[in-house]
Every structure is written in structure tokens, then in C-alpha cells.
């Protein structure tokens, strides 16, 4: 019998024995209290499941069931079954963690959220983007010629599959639409009111009017409030758990036993 050699086994058996003897001697009769609150509780649970209120007789029977279950529960406590049960152990750990978390993060104030956002800017980056107009021409010469055509410039362009107006496009989007070479050339220009170019794409030659460059930036707080709130809450929970453990750890003496 392998378990007979287990220290844990004997620890539990002796512990249970002492517990049982102690319980038996000091308090021979275990008391189970049945009151109106309990009746209301079992009735409410029943109603939630069956979708109607229980009758008087049903309540009596429900309370009987509850008493029987309570006896089962206490008997299992006497044998200390909870100690050895992994599911109960995990559930208690989670409950305890839940309780400590509740203390910590019920509702962060707007200032706390703002401060957290400021301190964690690197998490809320928005990739760079450009906004521009483009016109496509049949050749480099046609594009260059159009530059001096004044107001009729757009009339000289050929019809293009690609949109004339491109709003807040990331470098990857520009590359997917016009090709990497176009993207590199566009990077060389500054924002200006006039047409610039020509620059070459996968499809031909273009003139561009660069309307806006957004270098990679931080998303405005208002836009990502929910995300910040989620991150803050998550971190506060972890912090609360860590704080709690820090606080109570000194109550424990961890003894390493060599085999």
C-alpha cells in the first residue's frame, strides 16, 4: 500500500482523528439552523430554475433536502475532504483572489485612468499614415507636362483604378495599392498645397498632392478609453493580488523538507 507510506496520508488521518475527537467532545450535537431566510433562499433558487413559485409543501421538502445536503457537507468537513480536493482548493484560491481584487479596483477615477494612460503611452501607439491625392498619367513625360498645365492638370490624367483621394493610409496600405517604390518616393515629400512628382508606381506615373503626414503617434485618450480601462483594471487586479500576498506572506514559515 503505497499511500500508507505517505506522510500526507498520515498527517490527514491523524489530523482528522484529532479534529473528530475534539468536535465530539466539545460539542456533541451539531446544530443546523432553519429559519425564514433559508426558506426564502431555497424558494428563490427553485423559482429561478422552474420558473414558478414553490408551494408550501414544496418549500418544506426543499428545506428537508437542504438539511440533508448540509449534513452531507458537514460530514465531509469532519473527514477534511476539502483539504485534499484539488477543485475545492482552486475554487478557494480564486475566491480569495477575487476578494482581494474587489478591494482594489472597483472604479478607477478619471484621473487615475488618465495617469495610467500617460505612464503607458508606448502601448497605445497609432501607426503612421499619410493622406494624399494622386493622379495617374500614361508616361513620365505626360506627368511632367501636366505640372505646367495649371488648372487643367487633372483633365490630362488617365483614368486610374486607384482612388484619387487616399485618407490616412498606413505605409503598408500605400505599398499594397501603389507598390513599394511609390511608397519610398512619397516618403521623400513634404506636405504642400501644390502637385508634386512625377513618381512611379506599379501601374504608371503619378503626380501627388500630399495633404497630411501623421508620424506614429499615441491614440487620443478619448478614443481608447475602454481599452485603457481594461488594461488598468487587469493590472490593478494583479497588483492587488501581489500586495495581498506580500502582506500575508510573513505569516507563513515555508519549511523545505528533504526526502
Amino acid at each position: 500500500m503505497k499511500f500508507m507510506k505517505s506522510h500526507v496520508f498520515w498527517f490527514v488521518v491523524l489530523g482528522s482523528l484529532i479534529f473528530v475527537i475534539d468536535e465530539q467532545t466539545s460539542d456533541p450535537l451539531d446544530i443546523i439552523v432553519v429559519d425564514a431566510a433559508l426558506e426564502r433562499q431555497v424558494a428563490a433558487l427553485w423559482a429561478a430554475q422552474i420558473q414558478r413559485e414553490p408551494t408550501e409543501a414544496e418549500i418544506v421538502s426543499l428545506v428537508d433536502d437542504w438539511v440533508t445536503e448540509e449534513i452531507w457537507r458537514r460530514e465531509s468537513m469532519r473527514l477534511n475532504l476539502a483539504e485534499e480536493d484539488e477543485i475545492i482548493r482552486r475554487r478557494m484560491i480564486q475566491k480569495m483572489q477575487f476578494i482581494t481584487e474587489q478591494e482594489a479596483v472597483l472604479a478607477p477615477t478619471e484621473e487615475e485612468l488618465q495617469a495610467y494612460y500617460e505612464a503607458n503611452h508606448e502601448r497605445y501607439g497609432v501607426p503612421s499614415s499619410v493622406s494624399f491625392e494622386q493622379l495617374q498619367f500614361q508616361s513620365r513625360e505626360a506627368a511632367t507636362g501636366a505640372l505646367s498645365a495649371g488648372e487643367s492638370l487633372a483633365d490630362l490624367a488617365e483614368s486610374s483604378m486607384q482612388s484619387r483621394v487616399n485618407v490616412r493610409q498606413s505605409p503598408l496600405q500605400v505599398a499594397s495599392t501603389f507598390g513599394p517604390e511609390f511608397t519610398r518616393s512619397l516618403n521623400g515629400y513634404d506636405v504642400a498645397l501644390n502637385w508634386q512628382g512625377p513618381i512611379k508606381s506599379t501601374f504608371g506615373w503619378h503626380l501627388v498632392k500630399l495633404l497630411e503626414i501623421n508620424s506614429s503617434s499615441v491614440a487620443p485618450f478619448e478614443d481608447i478609453r475602454a481599452t485603457v480601462h481594461g488594461d488598468y483594471t487587469y493590472e490593478s487586479r494583479l497588483q492587488a493580488q501581489a500586495d495581498f500576498i506580500e502582506q500575508v506572506r510573513s505569516n507563513y514559515d515555508i519549511v523545505r523538507k528533504e526526502e
Binding site: F98, P127, A157, S159, M161, S170, L172, T202, F203
Partner: protein
């Protein structure tokens, strides 16, 4: 500290929160801005009401202004191609959760914008190129319930008490592969939940509360990320029903607006009959809530998606057909779980029909009957209905979508993350590379029908190896807003791609010439003198229609190989179809007998997946006249664009792991785009 009292207090507090009930039937987040936008345009100061009108003095009645308000879009009337995905599952879907997905709808939208999020197996996922629009479509039934059932601190976990769900996705349990727990969570959770409701253990109210909260959060995420002009989100969900023989009848429901929505989405728990879904959508429409449904994976429907009888088994009548087309203007023609365009057994003269065929019924390894399962055949059957003087039940356009279950579309062959999270997280699990010798041997012994043995070892051979890094929805819209994009869906001015950002225009008319094609105002002419994809082309005497087909490549993918037009027509109810090559790359000509381009010789080097750089076209453009046109015959036409071949994802994965590609699956694919059809209808007079 009296911990017991404290904990009891907390639990009571928690219980009080949990029992809070939601009685509102619609989520109403309308604000002042929306109603302001609805004001009619007024561009004539003289027509403004006189201030005296409000003073109580009886004046003459207001005069109607003479100027005309044009419903045609003035701005960007020739429209822009926008790309998106309308089929995305997150942690709120019971199956996505079973696959280990923790990503929320918020994460999904961040990903679509270019942010990096995590795969359940812990690696990073970043989109190849950000998208213009995105819709999270979680399964409506038990939305958000799995997630709570796995968390032992929740009320529902306590009540359901399913051991396989407990802490399913705790960090220590996020291990690649299909553990028995995950398999039960995927295949058993719905029936277990149904059983607990039926025997009274689990209250419907609790399930509804959770679903309602998940749905509200889905709406909130869509609202948070919707940026008119830059990025569009849609409030959406999946209605996941099937027939008794596991024939897939899944649809995604897309709502046009978010100011007024149903409190809970209609799901298979409410009815398994899609006609009831349409009744519900019709009812909502009468209340001003506009939506459409997009069927998907007809390929896995075992002939049920486009069958010629209704749910009750009666022949389709006009009432059925008009309700179906009213609610379902689009279908998904390509996605991760294969192509639904056509099947080699249905289109034996289409050399490109045998493309990414996924042969199973959805979520099974049962064979799916092709007839009744593919779009082209359904379009043809639709014409036959019209031939008999009946309404056409199958008059739909095309979109592509991913159907990712990790919040993240994987449209990149060279970096494909699969679809089912932990279950297909490694190339061994998908079957792209052999299993380890030990596992392979065991599988060969225990599940010989799910593996195949080749020189390099034993390979998993289930559905994942038949999946692909597809697809994308393309629309032609005036701007990147819900209104413009939704209107494009309704016009069927949509196209589908298998993942790359091919752009394609398709117009039908009678006066298009090569000069039209070369003119700077080509698009203005095409729109004013013709019809765009998704439309009906009316007859013009006996003249043959002329079509403009114009496509450009994804500048980060392979060049184009050819443009095709697929024509379907019926003679005396008999269906016919033909594939015409209409433009070829590298100056090659179309053979007038075979209607095929010559071979442009594009190559793929399987040693490193590099491709020929000097063949193919960045852009192909043509005007095509139907050589066999008969003005008395009903027909549809749609365009198909083919890229030069590139490596299939399974080849990329094998290469990365140092293996040859497995011998029983294609090593390369031709990425492609499909436009919605244009229908020609003969004069009735």
C-alpha cells in the same frame, strides 16, 4: 480581520449584481448628431421658411422650390475600392472559445487596423495590410456563455458545472492540439447547455442575460472603432443553423446602423429554419432596422444551401424567392473553409474549377454533395426559374471573408495562422508537415482514416489541410462610411478575392469601345452609359452587350495572368456555362476557338517560393463582346481575375520546417478575384 464575514458580504454583493435584470428590448443609442445628419439638404436660401411662419400670423402656404435634389452621389461618383472582412469570430463564440481564443471584439478591430494581437498559442498575429472595414460576427446562440461557463467564479459555471469547461483557457491550459476537454467544449457544449435548460437546471433568463451583455459589448466595440471616412465597422453576428443531415446553412447578419438594434440576435435556438430568420429581419425592417444576411460555406451544405425546395420541402414559390433575395443580396464565395464558386463535377469545362475545394460538410468529415452547394449552379437554376415566369430565388452578388475564429483574418499564404486556434496551431496539426515519428505511428494505428503516410512520415489528413488563407470582401463605395459601404452591398457592387488586394471593375453596356477604355473619363462614361457589377442589363434591340473588365494587381503580391468572363445561360430550362479568357498578360492573344490565353510561362520556385518577376501584368483592361450572344436568352456574366501562381500556405509551412510540400495537395495556387454578376434579361414583349 473577519474574513468569513467579509467574503460572505462580497458574495452577496456579487449575487445582487448578477441578478440585476435587463428589461429593455432594444438598445437605443441614438444621439443628436444622427438626427441632425438626417435633415434634408437645402441649397436654396429663397426656399427657407419665412420667419413670419412661426409668428402665428396666417400667411400664404410655403411654395415648393423648383430646384432638383439629385439622389446620385455627387462626391466621388466613380467610387473607390475598399477591402474588408465581414466574418470574424472572437472569444464570445462558443467554438472560438473552445479553440482557446481570448481575443475580444475590441482586439478584432485593433487587429484590422494594423495592431498586433496574440494567437491562442501565444504567437503574434499582425495583418499583412490593414483593412478598410471589419465586422465581428460571433455565433448568436449562447453568445458569451462558454467564456463564463469556464470561469468557476461565475454563477453560470456553478450551475452548469461542466468539468471539461473548468478553466479551459487558463494560461497553463493553452497548449496546441485538440485535448478531450477542447473537443467536448467544441462539440458537446451546445447540447449540454440545451439539456441543462430542458431539465430546469439552467434558467433561460441567465443565458439571455449573458447573451445580451455579450451582444451589447459587441455593439459597443463596433461603435468605438467606427471612424467615418477612415475605418468602418458593422454590428453583425452569425446565425448558425443546419439541416438534420449536418448540411450547413450558416449566415452572417449585417446591420446597416447601430442607433437602434434588437436586444438579442435571432439564433438557431429560436428557430433552425432560415425562413424564420428572414421573417425576423423583415419585421425589424418594418421598424426601421435595416439588415442583410450573407450565407456562407454553401460548399459544406451537402446540397442544402441552394436546394430547390423550402424548409418544409415544398417547391420554391415567388413569396419564398422575393423574401430570400430581399434579405440575402450577397453570398460568401470564398473563405478559409474553401471555395463555393463551382466544383469540378459541376463545371467540367472550367480548368480553374478545381481550386481550394473543401469536400466536407462543415465541422465534420462527412462528404458534402456538390449539387446544390455551389454558387454558379445556383445562379443557373435562378435563370431557369425566370424561364418559367417565376421569381429568381438566387440572384446574388459575391463577397469573400475569412471566418477566422481567432479575431484575426489570415490572408497571407506565407504566414497563415489557420482558423481554429489551438486545434490547428502548428504545421503538424494542419497536416502541412509530418507528425513526429512516435505520434505518427500511434495515429496510424488508432485513427488510420485521419492520417496518410508518405516518404517523409505520417501526415494529419483532416479538414484543415483543405483550408486556405482566404478571403476578402471588396466593395465600390463613395467613401469609407457605413452608409456608402452598406449601399454597395445592397447594389451588389461587390467583389471577392482569395486574400490579395486585387481590384476589379466590371461594367455592362452597348456602346463601350476601345476609345471608351482609353479616355480619361472612362469611369464616368461606364457609369452613365452602362451598369456596374451586381446590376441588371436591359436589352437594347438585338444588340450584343459589351463589357468592360479592368483589374489591377495587389502591388505586394504576384502580377495578373489573365481576365476571364464566366457566362451562364439557359435554353428551354437547360443550363449552360462557358469560361472566356478576355485579356491575357505579356501580349498573349486569346485563341478564338478555345477562348484561352497562351501560357505566359510564370514559374514558382518551390525551393524558396520565389516567383518570376518579369511575366504577368500589373493591370489588364479590355472591352469584350459576347461572341455567342442570343437576345432571346437569359444570361448572367461575371468576371474572374487570375494572378500568376504563388506558393500555397502549406508549401510555405513545409519550407519553413525544412520539408518538401506534401505530395497529395497542390503546392501552388492562383489567387483570384470574382465580381458580382451582371444579368441580361430578354425583352418580354
Amino acid at each position: 480581520m473577519n474574513l468569513r464575514a467579509f467574503s460572505l458580504g462580497s458574495i452577496l454583493l456579487l449575487a445582487a449584481c448578477g441578478s440585476e435584470t435587463e428589461t429593455v428590448q432594444t438598445i437605443d443609442v441614438a444621439d443628436a448628431e444622427n438626427s441632425a445628419a438626417a435633415e434634408a439638404p437645402s441649397n436654396d436660401a429663397a426656399s427657407a421658411p419665412s420667419p413670419a411662419a412661426s409668428s402665428g400670423i396666417q400667411q400664404s402656404l410655403l411654395t415648393i422650390p423648383n430646384d432638383i435634389f439629385s439622389a446620385l452621389p455627387g462626391k466621388n461618383a466613380t467610387r473607390t475600392a475598399l477591402f474588408g472582412d465581414l466574418h470574424v469570430h472572437t472569444t464570445y463564440s462558443f467554438d472560438a472559445f473552445a479553440f482557446g481564443t481570448l481575443a475580444t471584439p475590441y482586439d478584432a478591430y485593433r487587429y484590422a487596423l494594423g495592431d498586433t494581437i496574440q494567437h491562442p498559442a501565444g504567437f503574434d498575429m499582425t495583418l499583412r495590410v490593414p483593412l478598410d472595414f471589419y465586422a465581428v460576427t460571433d455565433h448568436a446562440m449562447y453568445m458569451g456563455v462558454s467564456r463564463q461557463a469556464a470561469d468557476p467564479s461565475t454563477e453560470i459555471a456553478r450551475i452548469m458545472d461542466l468539468d471539461y469547461m473548468e478553466n479551459l483557457n487558463a494560461p497553463e491550459n493553452l497548449i496546441p492540439g485538440g485535448t478531450p476537454q477542447r473537443t467536448r467544449a467544441f462539440l458537446g457544449f451546445l447540447s449540454d447547455a440545451g439539456g441543462l435548460i430542458a431539465d430546469g437546471t439552467l434558467s433561460q433568463d441567465l443565458v439571455h442575460d449573458i447573451t445580451r451583455d455579450a451582444w451589447k459589448d459587441t455593439v459597443a466595440a463596433a461603435e468605438q472603432y467606427n471612424k467615418p471616412g477612415e475605418f468602418t465597422t458593422f454590428v453583425a453576428y452569425e446565425y448558425t443553423t443546419s439541416t438534420a443531415d449536418r448540411g450547413n446553412l450558416h449566415r452572417n447578419v449585417i446591420f446597416r446602423d447601430a442607433d437602434k438594434l434588437p436586444a438579442v440576435p435571432f439564433s438557431r435556438v429560436h428557430s433552425r429554419n432560415p425562413e424564420d430568420l428572414w421573417d425576423w429581419m423583415d419585421g425589424l425592417r418594418n421598424e426601421g432596422i435595416e439588415s442583410l444576411a450573407i450565407p456562407h460555406n454553401s460548399n459544406g451544405s451537402n446540397g442544402q444551401m441552394f436546394k430547390l425546395v423550402d424548409w418544409a420541402g415544398n417547391p420554391l414559390d415567388d413569396t419564398y424567392s422575393s423574401q430570400r433575395t430581399r434579405n440575402e443580396p450577397l453570398i460568401e464565395i470564398t473563405q478559409i473553409k474553401g471555395t463555393s464558386e463551382t466544383h469540378p463535377l459541376l463545371s467540367d469545362n472550367d480548368e480553374w474549377a478545381d481550386f481550394e475545394i473543401m469536400p466536407y460538410r462543415i465541422a465534420t468529415t462527412l462528404y458534402s454533395e456538390p449539387s446544390g452547394s455551389y454558387a454558379r449552379e445556383a445562379l443557373l437554376n435562378g435563370l431557369s426559374f425566370e424561364d418559367q415566369g417565376m421569381e429568381n430565388p438566387f440572384e446574388f452578388g459575391f463577397v469573400g471573408a475569412s471566418d477566422t475564429h481567432m479575431a484575426a483574418i489570415g490572408d497571407d499564404e506565407s504566414d497563415f495562422y489557420g482558423k481554429t486556434g489551438l486545434r490547428d496551431a502548428t504545421p503538424q496539426l494542419t497536416g502541412a508537415v509530418p507528425l513526429s515519428a512516435e505520434v505518427g505511428e500511434r495515429r496510424l494505428e488508432n485513427t488510420p482514416d485521419q492520417v496518410r503516410e508518405f516518404d517523409a512520415g505520417v501526415y494529419n489528413t483532416g479538414s484543415p489541410i483543405t483550408w486556405g488563407a482566404s478571403g476578402i470582401a471588396g466593395v465600390w463605395a463613395e467613401d469609407n462610411t457605413r452608409e456608402s459601404i452598406y449601399n454597395a452591398f445592397r447594389r451588389k457592387e461587390t467583389f471577392a478575392t482569395t486574400g490579395t488586394r486585387i481590384k476589379v471593375r466590371f461594367f455592362g453596356g452597348y456602346d463601350f469601345t476601345d476609345e471608351t477604355l482609353a479616355a480619361p473619363d472612362m469611369l464616368e462614361t461606364a457609369y452613365s452609359e452602362g451598369v456596374s457589377m451586381g446590376s441588371d442589363l436591359l436589352p437594347n434591340g438585338d444588340r450584343a452587350p459589351r463589357f468592360i473588365v479592368w483589374a489591377t494587381q495587389d502591388a505586394l503580391s504576384a502580377p495578373l495572368q489573365r481576365l476571364q468572363i464566366i457566362k451562364g445561360w439557359t435554353v428551354d430550362g437547360e443550363p449552360h456555362e462557358q469560361v472566356f479568357d478576355v485579356a491575357c498578360s505579356n501580349g498573349l492573344a486569346v485563341d478564338s476557338q478555345s477562348h484561352r490565353c497562351g501560357d505566359n510561362g510564370a514559374q514558382v520556385n518551390l525551393a524558396d517560393c520565389s516567383i518570376s518577376t518579369d511575366v504577368g501584368a500589373a493591370e489588364l483592361k479590355t472591352v469584350w463582346v459576347d461572341p455567342d450572344f442570343d437576345p432571346s436568352v437569359r444570361a448572367f456574366y461575371y468576371a474572374r481575375v487570375l494572378e500568376n501562381p504563388t506558393c500555397r500556405w502549406s508549401t510555405w509551412d513545409a519550407l519553413k520546417e525544412g520539408y518538401e510540400p506534401r505530395p497529395d495537395f497542390p503546392t501552388t495556387i492562383q489567387e483570384r478575384a470574382y465580381t458580382s454578376p451582371i444579368w441580361f434579361r430578354p425583352s418580354t414583349g
